[in-house]
């Protein structure tokens, strides 16, 4: 359907060069047309005979207009009136580029980009601490004015964040206990110190693994849920609507969510610890013949309560980190759907990273303190 042909007639020295085009000048034949026109010698007078053109679309017209604008000597003739009006319309609408803004390049661009990234990282830290401050301030206000506090919302979020996470957290804890017992028994058997597998499991789970892995699972589950929920409200201008109605978004959205995390994360960590002990005890029984009774006695006799205190002391910090990062990312969602997805995954990555970094700081701190 899209046939296209041309014919070049070289004229004498007195007459201009003539180029006859026939067929369809459309987007389908545009590449061939452009190649042909680009191959014409520049600066020579050329007549384009278009009387054989049956079909033309804006792409063909655009190409002709561009060719005609190349030099003074180019003339278009013979176009049918209908196609001529199309050509005129395209000529009127030819895009006129704005002068490009001077873009930084080279070393300057590198330095500028680095500066921007550092500044935005600093900005992020400032914003996160501002959100923490807002949360604490609203929490204080809720204590003074209990009527403003949304109890139903808190219960709802506790169910979402806590209760619904119990199966996955318990399973994770159980499997961690199994793995520790199995790996521990293999190593400790070499020294005939199998019985210390109880201490190995108890201390590592109580101090580190129980709370850390629970926090990581919660960060993946909950930070993303917070961001998605708050972000989609932000996208549909619900948050702006709240402000105009005199409702404080921080009080309604942040406080119940972060408080729900504060309440449920230690409970989830406790469940993970117990599940870990059960898994470890079962594996120790199967692999090393340490009976559950023996396991229990060693656990209660040998393991100081300090380890549990160290572990649980991290829970509120992790909860606040996850909650603040999730809420903050939700508020940074813009009015397009893409930013919602981007901020949701950014929230998960940031929350997990921050939890692990905080855990490292805790380790250093407790080592110095001697706990």
């Amino acid at each position: 359907m899209a046939h296209f042909a041309f014919e070049v007639r070289e004229a004498g020295a007195d007459a201009p060069r003539a180029l006859a085009l026939r067929g369809a000048l459309t987007v389908q034949t545009l590449t061939r047309l452009e190649t042909l026109l680009a191959g014409q010698p520049a600066g020579t007078a050329t007549v384009l005979d278009l009387s054989g053109v049956e079909h033309m679309d804006t792409a063909g017209a655009w190409s002709l207009v561009r060719f005609a604008g190349r030099g003074q000597g180019v003339r278009l003739q013979g176009l049918s009136p209908r196609l001529q009006s199309l050509l005129d319309a395209v000529r009127d609408a030819m895009p006129r580029p704005d002068p490009p803004a001077p873009a930084p390049y080279g070393l300057r661009e590198f330095l500028e980009g680095t500066g921007r990234r550092v500044a935005s990282a600093g900005q992020l830290a400032v914003e996160l601490s501002a959100y923490l401050g807002v949360f604490l301030a609203r929490l204080g206000r809720a204590v003074r004015h209990p009527s403003e506090f949304r109890m139903t919302s808190l219960v709802h979020h506790c169910q979402d964040v806590g209760w619904r996470a119990v199966p996955i957290v318990a399973l994770m804890g159980f499997l961690i206990g199994v793995v520790l017992a199995f790996q521990g028994s293999v190593q400790l058997r070499q020294f005939g110190a199998e019985v210390f597998v109880v201490e190995l499991i108890a201390i590592s789970i109580l101090r580190e693994l129980g709370i850390l892995l629970t926090a990581i699972i919660v960060a993946g589950r909950t930070a993303s849920a917070f961001t998605a929920a708050i972000g989609s409200m932000k996208m549909r201008e619900e948050i702006d609507a709240m402000r105009t109605l005199g409702i404080d978004p921080a009080m309604v959205l942040f406080v119940p969510r972060i408080l729900a995390l504060l309440i449920t994360l230690p409970i989830l960590a406790l469940i993970a610890n117990i599940a870990g002990f059960v898994g470890g005890a079962l594996m120790a029984w199967a692999e090393l013949g340490i009976s559950p009774g023996m396991f229990y006695v060693r656990l209660t006799d040998q393991i100081s309560i300090d380890h549990a205190i160290v572990g649980f002391s991290k829970a509120p910090v992790f909860a606040v980190i996850i909650g603040v990062i999730g809420c903050h990312a939700g508020m940074r969602v813009e009015s397009n759907t893409e930013s919602l997805g981007r901020m949701t995954s950014a929230a998960v990555v940031a929350a997990i990273f921050a939890v692990i970094a905080a855990d490292a700081l805790f380790s250093v701190f407790y080592a110095r303190v001697g706990l």
Partner: protein
């Protein structure tokens, strides 16, 4: 008109559960005309548009587009038909992760052998044709106003120089000045590019300013078609109320003043 209609609909039936939206609906679209479809809420204007555009399969009836049976054809034939049609959705339906220029380039990617530079420059032309300023090409849809998003949607709809363009509520949500400018743009493009336009609207000003022919949807079918003047003589309660209401009178006065 001697030639065949570009789109011929016969005996169309659309049904959602027990609710029949269209029954025995006939409509012809002739080459080069701008047809405005009006009708009360729930009369299935958008459903009709989606059915012709191939987004919905009717329960019964036949649709012929460019002389081909659009319902009984193979997927490849349907695709060939789709390439000759453009649709502008109500809010533009632009891909939010792409800039306006990239949005317009999407249909151009179907053309074999087009280099990225050419595609880029053609997209710029379409953006300019739809009356958007140069800088709009680099913006994301979320950074544009409602009127500009509609223009960008139109630029994407005409990217492949379709023969038929479907516009769903082109002026809904625009201020009167923006709506008038859009009416003028539709008329200009229809005249200069030789487009056939099928537009669904509530806007009486658009019917006046842009449409050659008006089709009224009521009682599950196309009740009547004709020019604006014809509509004033139709004896049907809804049509009478619609075209004799205060808004309609204002629109008629406005066009006669400017004419």
């Amino acid at each position: 008109m001697a030639e065949d209609p570009i789109i011929r609909i016969r005996g169309l039936r659309n049904q959602f559960g027990a609710q029949v939206v269209h029954e025995d609906l006939d409509l012809d679209l002739w080459r080069g005309e701008v047809v405005g479809v009006v009708g009360g809420s729930g009369t299935g204007k958008s459903v009709l548009l989606r059915t012709i555009a191939g987004l919905r399969r009717p329960q019964a009836g036949s649709i012929e587009i460019f002389g081909k049976d659009a319902l009984g054809c193979t997927d490849d034939e349907r695709r060939a038909i789709d390439l000759r049609m453009g649709v502008m959705f109500q809010d533009g339906a632009l891909f939010s992760s792409l800039t306006v220029r990239e949005n317009v380039e999407v249909p151009l990617q179907a053309v074999p052998g087009l280099t990225p530079t050419l595609r880029h420059e053609l997209a710029d032309l379409k953006i300019s044709l739809s009356g958007l300023p140069w800088f709009a090409g680099d913006k994301y849809p979320s950074e544009l106003s409602g009127g500009m998003r509609k223009r960008a949607g139109l630029a994407r709809a005409i990217a492949l120089d379709p023969e038929v363009v479907f516009l769903d509520e082109p002026t809904a949500g625009l201020d009167p000045i923006g709506a008038t400018a859009f009416d003028v743009l539709i008329r200009q493009l229809a005249d200069s590019l030789g487009l056939t336009v099928f537009l669904v609207t509530h806007d009486l000003d658009t019917l006046h300013a842009a449409c050659d022919r008006i089709a009224v949807l009521a009682e599950r079918k196309v009740l009547v078609t004709g020019s604006m003047a014809d509509m004033l003589h139709v004896d049907h309660p809804w049509v009478r109320e619609y075209f004799h209401g205060p808004r309609s009178r204002a629109a008629i006065e406005a066009t006669t003043r400017t004419a």
